[in-house]
Point group: C2
Chain length 340, copies 2
């Protein structure tokens, strides 16, 4: 029974020299054939022999050797942290990744939780990525950007709520989310509006701009905005609900649907009527938000399609001279259901 791999034991890893030997040609010829080099003409017979030898040996080229020789890589590095990324975000990242792979880049996520702002860019730079796309949850300092650029990164790009000086930026402007929600509530005649601020660390990066957007929208109408710290726990919500009537609010924008559901339940449990006494608005348009009664009104976000952005990254890599570009990715729109 030779169905199982013949040699699961440790052998030396086959190199292009092994392929050359087996095919009876030189290493150069192997390289030409396997890379479909256009500058050289190789006979069909030789090509065949080389390819055959390569598959027989299970030859896989060594990326490190290749990029050492080439003087550059085609690696795009995405630092990641452990944060509850919403499905929209996650899907977007995977789309972007696919788009870049289509352009022949090798996309690699590099977990950077617990690395400080100095060490992290150093660690990334060791891999000599041609581009780095850093989510907003990663603190990218001017020094960090400098380290990356000097290590050969052609494009350093941030992806998040706000741009960072010295880097290109794919901006997901969270202020839109806040202003969208507040505009809707103002339209509905609400004038004293709470804005939930999650106490979970890391979420402030999103919450602060949403609050800022809310304030901007409220300013014109002289409406009142009240930040409301809240942890994602039932007790925290219950405490907030208990002092609700003393706050004198007629509406609340609850950061997102999950926090909104938590708070709405707590409010209802203390006898606050939604939306009569207090209107509630979330964000993310989760399916689950439609299951509560009243159905949750929400801000739906849409992100730009990823392929054009992959093309953009490609362009930034190729013309790395240009000054930092900012691109807005996020579009927010109200989905009003029953809670507002």
């Amino acid at each position: 029974m030779s169905q199982l791999p013949k040699q699961p034991t440790e052998g030396p890893v086959p190199t292009s020299a092994d392929v050359a030997r087996r095919a009876g040609v030189s290493r150069a010829t192997v390289s030409y054939v396997l890379n479909d080099s256009a500058t050289v003409r190789i006979s069909e017979a030789t090509r065949h022999r080389v390819r055959e030898a390569a598959t027989e040996l299970g030859y896989v080229p060594h990326a490190a050797a290749r990029s050492l020789r080439a003087g550059h890589t085609r690696m795009v590095l995405l630092p990641t942290v452990d944060l509850p990324a919403d499905p929209l975000h996650r899907h977007f990242l995977h789309q972007l990744e696919s788009g870049l792979r289509r352009l022949d880049y090798t996309v690699v996520q590099y977990g950077s939780t617990g690395l400080n702002a100095d060490d992290a860019p150093r660690a990334w730079a060791e891999l000599r990525p041609v581009a780095v796309i850093a989510p907003g949850t990663i603190s990218l300092t001017p020094q960090g950007i400098s380290v990356l650029r000097r290590s050969g990164a052609k494009a350093v790009i941030t992806l998040g709520p706000r741009p960072v000086a010295g880097a290109h930026a794919l901006v997901m402007d969270q202020r839109q989310v806040g202003s969208c929600a507040i505009a809707h509530l103002l339209e509905r005649g609400r004038r004293s509006i709470g804005v939930v601020m999650p106490e979970e660390s890391g979420l402030g990066l999103f919450a602060e701009p949403r609050l800022a957007g809310a304030r901007e929208a409220a300013l014109e109408h002289g409406a009142r905005i009240e930040p409301l710290p809240l942890r994602y726990e039932e007790e925290s919500a219950a405490r907030l609900a208990a002092r609700w009537r003393t706050l004198g609010l007629d509406a609340v924008f609850a950061y997102n649907d999950a926090y909104a559901m938590l708070l709405m339940r707590a409010l209802q449990d203390t006898g606050v009527q939604v939306p009569r006494d207090t209107a509630v608005v979330g964000a993310d348009d989760l399916l689950l938000g439609r299951l509560l009664r009243p159905r949750l009104s929400t801000v739906r976000m849409e992100l730009a399609t990823a392929q054009p952005l992959a093309d953009l990254v490609d362009r930034l890599v190729q013309h790395s001279a240009g000054s930092p570009e900012h691109h807005d990715l996020l579009r927010a729109g109200m989905v009003d259901r029953e809670s507002s």
Copy 2:
């Protein structure tokens, strides 16, 4: 104002030769100093000069050159796909990553959506990872494993519901989840139990073993198990609920909390009383499941702590000769609230 980086323009990337020149020593000495080589004694003065030169130039070693010379890498590669990973999973992966980094491995996630079972391992192998940890959602074939091993991977490890022949396995046995839920329902006197099977592709990998576990648990008591296809949409749930009474079920295990919430709402909307007419059990112990009324009973899962697993991976890498090991990571326990 020279606060901004002096040379944002393209310069050649500094190498250890540049550092050597600047410090007035040889490349060898630079290597000794920067790697704290124990085999050689270098004067403190020289060390200082070298380090200074390195930081002044912003020197970062070239990982590819290093590993080419060393003949091996310390890269652990984690293929990923675009699937709604639950927070538990995500957190576990990040913990594992941190644990491996502590052991001086470079952990890298490689998005592999859309790559077929042959191409993907090839692409991974080009990076010469010393270990590959493939989530169950990645189809790892014996050929794929073979390609990886022959490219120098010391450990090929699967991470998911079931082991794969020829590879080590970190098993998250989903059958436990199903059997745990059903055991609970049997205890409550239920005998005709539906099991929700998500129709979303990719989830079958988890749903099937859960169903199998449910069947095993039901078998001893002669209880009836009825698979119930369901899409994660309100209409799909409404259709299922509409024909509920014809199914003759007195309980349902709804795959997870999200599906459970969806279905429970649909049942309630058609007048089915929970838990009187039908008991409902989810899984994942989401906070949101506690917000519905009745509060959702659920299967809570716990995963093994990650640091010991990182140590395990390290061991497998170092003693790559051993035969495939299987380790069980998942522990399931019932949290009974009001819906069952």
